[in-house]
Amino acid sequence: MHEQKRGASGDSSSVKELVVLSGKGGTGKTTITASFAALADQVILADCDVDAADLHLITAPTLVTDEPFFSGKEAVVDSEQCSGCGLCAIACRFDAFVEKSDGAYTISPVHCEGCGVCVRICPEEAIRFIDRDCGRWMVSDTRFGPMVHARLHAAGENSGKLVTLVRREAKRIAEKQNIPLLLVDGPPGIGCAVISSVTGADAVLLVTEPSKSGLHDLERVTALARSFSIPVYVCVNKCDIDTGITESIRRRTIEDGNYFVGTIPYDEQMVKAQNMGLSAVEFIEGETRDRIREIWESIWTTQ
């Protein structure tokens, strides 16, 4: 990832943004992100896996700010005013209405999409439309540099918008403090939160594992990352679990015109490091540490 490379967004920010994704969960995104944080001279971190964030377990953040995250709306029935006509339940596409024993209706908040159709359709005007409290977002100091992170409420909505907010705030702080690199620990999958994590970024690192599942998921997340026209780097964690599949991934990556930046052996010390609250490169000596460092260096020299 060279200095002159610009993201698909075409923005002229001096901050480079590298997003770590995987498709399949549990391949080592957070482990790699935390190690990169330890290897970087100057970095800001953003944890965008907002519904199962783990990076803070390694970075041990000291909170600086902690803000609520309101996004979208939710509908609430005033049961005093509800006549039980049921028009809301017929109109709702999300099966969010439940008829109570007294004939009035109530809304399951986890199923309410916040579309407001019921609010407009209710002849009794018995449905209120309130701002939705979706979670909170925090700015912290860590031993690696500043970090922006978030926590979606249990069963929360609007994770994509929270991801966008976390990245925007991280970028703003980076620009203000002249931090050249924003490292984003991304969510698994390829859906809304992943699309929000990669839109407008400068490069993507895909961390995968050598399994048929890992390979299948890698193909899908690669296709998604490619659609943003930014450099895609690929590394394989636990590479010796299946050396044949590791080789297939390496070949496929190069054939697709992406950058293969290295492999990391299966190492039980990784779990020990995690359980002690340390990044892999802070705890492990020897080959595993060297390989992670090589991947880190490859990203900055390959193109």
């Binding site: 995987s22 498709g23 783990d54 109109a91 579309c115 390829i190 594992e209 399994s211 299948h216 679990i241």
Partner: protein
């Protein structure tokens, strides 16, 4: 009975537990793969494809002859999916949540809903195991409509036992997947990340109000923190699956492990615990 297999953290072994449970069930069983962003059950449950169809949502389409540019559609849309430009509505289909509000409230009846494809639903039969998988198209943001479509395909199923492979996380896709289950199995591992994300998943299933219990995978790789947490919070651990590199190697090749007598026993005991757990839950409710 519907048993969903979920976890906060990805990669703890949801698909692994689901497919090995399916393989060790004696009667016909229906498996639903609701991890539509990255569905993997089909890698392990082979068998013949029975059917395949496209999954779609309903999005608005404008009849320009009837539209008078009144902007009601863009006002009612909570998702900013409609902009009225030069007097005509422009639909941003990827922002549309398919609520139907614009078509319902258009005073001129100028909007009607059309099918917009976002994924594929496939069905395959592997001996007594039927698998229905949903796959979200790459580039589409909304997983929930495909998840709901998988579940619709399973309505009036002939099998009395259903296993549901859930997406990771604790947000809407996971909630829609597990919320109508008789039991949610939360698969975790004895690590710092495993425990933390288990706690989030427990909070979520408690919020939804579905019965749940834990399966501890890769037992032995870390420490006793997950067991301590479960004990302190009165959460039952239904099974402990040992940490074994051989399992990882078989998993990598897309193989199940219950042909090995040691692991066949782990999963048949897990089935006994599932049956006992749900019977106990039912007795409590009664």
């Amino acid at each position: 009975m519907r048993v969903a297999v979920a976890s906060g953290k990805g990669g703890t072994g949801k698909t692994f537990v689901t497919v090995n449970l399916a393989r060790s069930y004696d009667e016909p069983v229906l498996v639903m793969d609701c991890d539509v962003e990255e569905p993997n059950s089909a890698i392990f449950l082979k068998g013949e494809q029975v059917s395949s169809r496209r999954s779609h949502v309903l999005i608005p389409s404008v009849n320009e002859q009837l539209c008078d540019g009144c902007r009601v559609c863009s006002t009612v849309c909570e998702f900013n999916a409609i902009a009225v430009i030069a007097g005509k509505p422009l639909i941003f289909e990827d922002l549309c949540h398919a609520c139907g509000g614009c078509a319902t409230f258009c005073p001129q009846d100028a909007l009607h809903e059309v099918e917009h494809e976002i994924g594929t639903i496939t069905e395959q039969q592997d001996g007594s195991i039927r698998l229905i998988s949903g796959k979200l198209d790459v580039g589409k943001a909304l997983a929930v409509p495909v998840i709901r479509d998988v579940k619709r395909s399973a309505e009036r199923a002939r099998e009395s036992m259903m296993l549901i492979d859930s997406p990771p996380g604790t947000s809407c896709p996971m909630v829609w997947t597990v919320s109508d289950s008789d039991l949610v199995i939360l698969v975790t591992e004895p690590t710092a990340f495993g425990l933390h994300d288990l706690q989030l998943a427990v909070e979520t299933v408690r919020e939804i109000g579905v019965p749940f219990a834990v399966v501890l995978n890769k037992d032995g790789v870390g420490d006793s923190r997950v067991e301590r947490y479960c004990e302190q919070n009165g959460i039952e651990i239904l099974a402990r699956i040992p940490h074994d590199r051989v399992i990882a190697e078989l998993y990598a090749q897309g193989e199940t492990i219950v042909h090995d007598a040691r692991y066949a026993q782990v999963f048949s005991q897990l089935w006994q615990k599932i049956v006992a757990f749900t019977a106990n839950e039912e007795a409590h409710r009664a």
